[in-house]
Structures are given as C-alpha cells and as structure tokens.
C-alpha cells in the first residue's frame, strides 16, 4: 500500500498547529493566573477522521490517521456553582451593608458611655432634686436650666447625625440634590452601567458563537459583571444555548439578549411631603415607571441596595434610622410636655403663678425639619432670669397660694418624673430609651452574625469555583513541558519526512 508521499507531512503539520494552539492557550492561562474572574481554558484535541485509501492492489483496507485536530477551546466553568455564588453574594451584600449601617447607629447613640443621652437625662433629674432642696439658691436654679440646655443640645446633635446618615443613604426631601448623590443613587447608577455592558457583551457573544467559536474571554467578562451585579441587587437570569442571556430585576426585564430594554432610577417619593413616615426615595424602572420598593413590599430582595433601602426605610421591626429618630422625638416631646405642664402649674421664686414654658419650639432652628425634635430650645427669658423656674407649687392652704421661697415641692415633682410611666411611651423615660438601645444592640449583633455566616458560605462556594476554574501554575508548567517536547518531536518528524521526500525526488 502506498500512501501519497506528502501524507506524513500533512499529519506533522496538523500536529504542529495543534501543539502551537495548546502552547498559546497555556501561556494565556499562565499570564491570566491572577486575573479576577478568569476561567482556565483547555484545548480539546481529538484525532481527525481517518483516511481510508482505495487501491486495486489492496486486499484489506487500512485506516490511516490524519493527525490531531483542535475540536474546541473550552473553559472550565460550572453554571450551577455560579448561580449558587450569586445568590449567596446577594445575601452577603445585604447583610454586610446593614451590619455596617447598624454599627454607625451604635456609634451615634454612644452607649455605654458617660457622654450619652442616658447620662444627661439622669443629670437633669438630679439637678431637679437639688433644686427641690435649695429653691432659694440661684445656683441650683441656674444648674437646672443648664442641664436642660445640655439635654436639648445632645438630643439635637444626635438627631442631626441621624438625619445626615439617612440623607446620605437614601436622600431627603429637604435637600433635593441629595437624591442624586445618595448611596442608593450611586449604587443604582452602577447597576445601570453594568446592565449596558452586559447587553453589549451579549450581542458579541451571540455573534461569535453563531460562527462556531467559543468566546471564552467574553463569557468570562460577562460572568464577572454578573457576579458584581449580584452583590448590588438580586437578579434573575435566563441562559440560552446560543449564548444569549436575559436578565430581570425585581420581576422587570432589564436585558433581553443584545438589547438593554430598561434601567433603574431613583426618584423622590412624591407622597405628601415631607411626611417623616414616608420613605424618601423610590427605585423605579425608567420605561414603564414600575416602582420596585412600594408600600406593599419590595420586589428587590437581596444585595447591597436592599440593605440600603431597609435601613433607610420605616420598618418598625428593625432599628431603622427613621425609627430611632421617631423614638427620640416621642421621648423628648414627652419630657418637654411634662416639665412644661409642671412649670405652668407652679409658682416661681417671686410667687407668680404659671411662669412661661421651659421648653420652647423654635422653627428657626433646623428650619424645614418635620419632627419637633430638631426645633427645641430652652426659653431665653428663663435663661436670663432663673427665678422664673416654678420650684414651688400652687398651694391652696397658703396665703396667696404661695408658701414661700423655701417651697421646692414642684421641683420634687419634676424630679419624680424620672420614676413615672407615661402613656405615650408605655414606660418610664429611661426604660424607653434603654429599650431602644437594647433593640439596636440585638439587631446589630444579629446582622454581624448573619454577615459572618454568609461570608463563610460565600467563601466556601467561591473556593469551589476557584478549584474548578483557577489556574494552577504547576499544572500549566507540566503541560508546557509536555507540548514543548511534542513540538520538538514533531519538528524532528518533519525533518525525517523532508529527507524521505528528497530521497524520492533524488531517485528521478
């Protein structure tokens, strides 16, 4: 049997091509060993279909191999692991964000410490007690006024810090530009830019796949974008065999194949404004205006954006920023009302009945804020004239209703407010405040634990992914040796064939 003389050369040629492909892929792998999101690629070699020569001299037909052929260059990737990872990553993003915001809240409330609201409250009632023992002394009166001013200033400081935190998270109606600069808006615009990148990758991937090749690096890029996107917001993906990918967020289609059909935006809540019970900003789709976090429940269920929405919202079961502001508001309202009532019912140092209120609402302080909390001040008339504090009660048994300069019974009543329970709070001042702090501490600990658990889970899944898709430089080095030797051997074979052909030609 005689095979065409150049046959061996063609086989060797195929061998060289295949080896060169393999070497290029190996060097691609090695140089991308540290690229995040890179999946290692392998050259799948297969033997080319054998050639059966026909010859009238043959008794039996032999099949002659035709060398290797590169079937395809595949990448090592598991779709299942990817899906698991994205789910876990979404939960991790949410938990971590909430944990961090709750830690900030703990910092603002500053317990346990000597500079806390708790302490200031206690000192206020202590000073009222002191006043009741020495109502004739202008020092104790001034001290009581000073403690009231301290209470107002620490409460307003905390209120402002809380307000700023919320404004940075989700914006606020008082500062319309905050809706574009808030964390929510920044994350949403990141989502949008990733969506458009995914859409353009989609059309390229589909085109290349249609021509029969594997767009491995584009697929890697798209997977990385999907990984990052799932940290921000939970997504639902539909994969098609032709490489197309449909993506929806909160039940609304965002990407259909190569087209980005929608994106997200943050708008100011157009509800009755500014109502502190309103969530200040809404996330809605641009085309169609579907609101994703309306009052009936959020369609966004995971990712950093969910964490921000929750902490910036009004859920009473969670220590939200607005929730704590509301509780502080109720607390200070009750304190101010009770003390003002006692003040109005008592007599000042000169025996006058019903001196002016101690706590006043001044709209010029923090203008525009809806909560009373921001507008308290201590009556300047009383600051200038401490004798206006009603330390004495209106005594029906006394001549003129005024028992005397030594009467401190109204001040005692103020001091005894500390132990009383009030309908608006359901308990005493201090217990109400401590209850709020306690709930905050439990929530904070819950989300710390949650993040830790979720982080471990996410890492475990990611390690599995890396085990499958990562590059092991030692492995690649061995393959490098293998294909290098094979290249040398094939080159040697070509040399031999060359000599054979030369001999054949030389025969003529």
């Amino acid at each position: 049997m005689i095979t065409p003389g150049f046959f061996g050369l063609f086989n060797a040629h195929r061998g060289l091509v295949a080896t060169q492909n393999a070497l290029s892929t190996i060097s691609h792998n090695i140089s991308n060993a540290n690229t995040p999101g890179y999946s290692r690629q392998r050259v799948d070699l297969a033997a080319a279909p054998a050639y059966t020569p026909t010859s009238r001299h043959e008794v039996t037909a032999n099949q002659i191999g035709q060398g290797p052929v590169v079937e395809k260059i595949s990448r090592s990737r598991d779709l299942f692991l990817d899906t698991q990872f994205r789910l876990a990553s979404g939960k991790l993003g949410m938990n971590t964000d909430m944990r961090d915001i709750l830690a900030q809240l703990e910092g603002i409330m500053n317990e346990p410490s000597t500079n806390s609201l708790n302490n200031t409250l206690q000192t206020l009632f202590d000073s009222a007690q002191e006043l009741s023992l020495h109502p004739e002394s202008s020092a104790t009166r001034t001290n009581f006024i000073q403690q009231s001013m301290d209470l107002v200033s620490i409460v307003q400081l905390q209120a402002t810090q809380l307000y700023d935190l919320r404004k940075n998270l989700v914006g606020d109606a008082l500062v319309p530009t905050s809706f574009n600069t808030s964390q929510l808006a920044i994350n949403v615009s990141e989502v949008n830019s990733k969506l458009s990148a995914i859409a353009s990758l989609n059309s390229n991937i589909v085109t290349i796949k249609a021509s029969g090749a594997e767009p491995n690096d584009l697929l890697d890029q798209r997977d990385k974008l999907l990984d990052d996107l799932s940290k921000l917001v939970d997504i639902k993906i539909t994969n098609y065999d032709n490489g197309q990918l449909d993506l929806s967020i909160g039940g609304e289609n965002m990407v259909l194949g190569g087209r980005q059909v929608d994106s997200l935006e943050v708008i100011q809540n157009p509800g009755p404004a500014p109502d502190p019970a309103d969530v200040p900003s809404l996330v809605q789709t641009v085309t169609g205006g579907v609101i994703l976090n309306d009052a009936t429940g959020s369609e966004i269920t995971g990712g950093k954006i969910k964490g921000i929405l929750d902490m910036g919202g009004n859920d009473p079961g969670l220590s939200t920023v607005q929730g704590i502001l509301g509780k502080l508001n109720t607390l200070v309202d009750t304190i101010a009302t009770e003390i003002n009532n006692l003040q109005a019912a008592g007599r000042d140092q000169n025996g006058n009945l019903g001196p002016p209120d101690l706590f006043l609402q001044n709209a010029a302080i923090n203008p525009g804020q809806p909560l009373n909390l921001f507008h308290w001040e201590i009556n300047p008339a009383i600051v200038n004239d401490p004798s206006l504090i009603a330390a004495a009660i209106d005594d029906p048994t006394a001549t003129g209703g005024f028992a005397g300069v030594g009467d401190g019974r109204n001040a005692t009543a103020i001091a005894q407010l500390r132990d009383q329970s009030f309908a608006a709070l359901g308990t005493s001042f201090v217990d109400y405040l401590n209850g709020t702090i306690s709930k905050l501490s439990i929530d904070s600990q819950t989300y710390q634990n949650g993040s830790n658990i979720q982080e471990n889970l996410t890492q475990t899944i990611d390690l599995r992914r890396q085990s499958l898709s990562g590059v092991n430089v030692d492995e690649e080095t061995i393959d490098l040796l293998r294909f290098q030797r094979s290249f040398e051997a094939t080159s040697k074979a070509i040399k031999v064939f060359d000599e054979v052909i030369q001999s054949i030609i030389g025969m003529v």
């Binding site: 346990p112 004739e136 005692t412 132990d419 501490s441 390690l463 085990s467 990562g470």
Partner: protein, 321 residues
C-alpha cells in the same frame, strides 16, 4: 472541604481569609484591653448591656438619694443642736423663776431676775432665727425671712403658720419622704401684749402662746412691784414653763427620730451601693489576666499562620526546573 484541585488563586484567597479572621480577633481583644471594658458597643453583648444600663441607673438614683440624705442630715443635726440649746435656756428660766418666787427676795432682786429673763428671751429669739447659709430653719417655707422679730414685749412669728403646709420634706427613696424641719410657731410660740400688769395677770392677744408668752409673762410678773398676786403669778409661770419644756423636748424627739431614720437609710444605701458596684464590675470589667493570656495565644496563632502562608505561597514547580 473536599476540594481536590488547588489553584494559586484559591491558596492566596484562603490565606487572606484566615489572616483576616485572625487579625479581627486580635483587634477585638486589643479593644477590650485598652478600654478595660467587656462591652464597648451595644452589640458586643446585648443582654449584658441591658443589665449594666439598669445597674447604672439604680446606682445613679441611689447616689441622688444619698445626696439628699446628706443635705437633710446637716440640716437636721443643726436643728437638733439648736433645740438642745433652747432646752437649756428653758431650764435656766425655770431656775430663775424659782428664785423669783422665793418671797424673801425683794423687788430689786426680782428686777435683776427680770433683766436676765429679758436677755434669755433675746437669746431664744436668736436661736429661733438660726439659718444655714441664709436659709432660716424654723420658718416653714418662708426661708428667706427671719421667723421671729421682737419689738419691745411683742414677739411675732413671720414664718408659715401651722395651719398651712409648712413641712419641708426630702426624698430618701422611691416614694418615701422625710420631713426635716420644725415649725417655729409650734416650737416657741409668739406673743402680743395688749395690757401689761399691774394689775396681774397681764393680757395678751388671742394668738399668743408658747414659751415666748410664758417668758414675757414671767418678766412682766417679776417687774410688777406692789401687785398683791405677784408671787402667785410667778409660781403660775413656773407651772407653764414645765409644759413649755415638754413641748420643746417633744420637738427634739421628732428631730432625733428623723436623724435616726436618715442615718439608717444612708447605711442601707451604702450597702446596696457596694453590692451593685460589684455586680456591675463582674459584667463590665475584663479579667485582665485572662484576656492578656488569650491575646498572647492569639498572637502565636497569627504568627504561625503567617509563617505557613509564606512557605506555601513560595513553592512552585518552576523553582525546580
């Protein structure tokens, strides 16, 4: 974990994770040691936090009551001393009255005794006007004006009358108050002379009563020379002085029992303070020795993991080719 294929990125990520975990453990221990406290932020220990907030509240409230009690004790003790002096004065008046009733004394003798009684009355007025830093003790709520003022033989009481609320009280524990003052009118009385004898007895306003009335009456009786009832009248004053002495003594007993109650309450508060402070420390104070030992151990673990990481990440096949 069942991972069969180890890749370089897997190894480096693992290393980073473990190092990160170790470091965060080290940092939290460092926080505890630097502050000396177990609970530095609420989420460190929510249940412990509730307890220490409650304990701290109670400690502060108790401290407030302690303050009140100290204030009250100083006032009550002053009043006690003053009333003691008053008792001595009344007893002296009794001696003088006995002398005056002795009929062997002549009028000059009785005049001299009357002068001494007059001085005694002035001293009594001064005692009645005792003040602590400008706050008069025996005038009820009218603490800014002296309770007693004397013009001639009239001594008027300017404080809160006993028919009005005059008790100054102090909170010594939740819902419990102690009265710390004595009403001057109850204690010493007042006197307005409408007609001085002779003839004896002299006549007085309806409001006159108490030891002041008796003393003025005694003085006038001693000075009423030539009145046939003089000695009888002086002996009557002696009987009245006995009643007056009992009044003052009974007020002293009241003050004494208030002082006792205050001391006892203070003692209980002191005991409770030491118990609560121990409880607070047991939750909040770190066990310094244990935490430092833990810190050392954790540092060793960290050191070891750093060494292992260094060795692992450096070995590669390429070194051997």
């Amino acid at each position: 974990m069942g991972i069969n294929r180890i890749t370089s990125s897997l190894m480096s990520n693992q290393a980073l994770n473990y190092l990160g975990k170790n470091l965060s453990l080290l940092t939290s221990m460092q926080e505890k040691i630097s502050s000396g406290q177990n609970i530095n932020k609420p989420s460190d220990d929510p249940i412990g936090l509730t307890r220490i907030l409650d304990l701290s509240n109670t400690l502060k409230t108790d401290a407030r009551y302690s303050n009140n009690i100290q204030d009250a004790i100083s006032e009550v003790n002053t009043a006690d001393t003053v009333i003691n002096n008053m008792v001595e004065l009344v007893q002296r008046a009794q001696e003088l009255a006995t002398q005056g009733a002795n009929f062997t004394n002549n009028q000059d003798g009785r005049n001299a005794i009357a002068l001494e009684i007059d001085q005694l009355i002035n001293q009594m007025v001064q005692l009645g006007n005792t003040d602590i830093s400008g706050k008069y003790l025996f005038g009820g709520f009218r603490t800014d004006i002296p309770p007693f003022s004397r013009t001639g033989d009239d001594i008027s009481y300017n404080g809160t009358p006993p028919t009005e609320s005059w008790q100054r009280s102090v909170d010594i524990s939740r819902g419990v108050q102690i009265t710390t003052n004595i009403n001057g009118d109850d204690l010493l009385g007042q006197v307005g002379v409408t007609a001085a004898g002779p003839p004896l007895p002299s006549t007085y306003s309806a409001a006159s009563h108490g030891v002041f009335k008796t003393l003025i009456d005694l003085k006038l009786s001693l000075q009423a020379s030539g009145d046939p009832n003089q000695l009888t009248e002086i002996r009557n004053r002696l009987d009245e002085l006995t009643t007056d002495l009992n009044t003052v003594l009974s007020k002293q007993a009241i003050i004494g029992s208030a002082s006792n109650r205050l001391e006892v309450t203070q003692g209980r508060l002191d005991e409770r303070k030491s118990v609560l402070t121990k409880q607070y420390a047991s939750i909040q104070d770190i066990d310094m020795a244990k935490t430092i030992a833990d810190l050392n151990q954790q540092q060793n673990v960290f050191q070891a993991s750093l060494t292992v990481t260094g060795r692992l990440l450096q070995t590669s096949l390429l070194n051997y080719l």
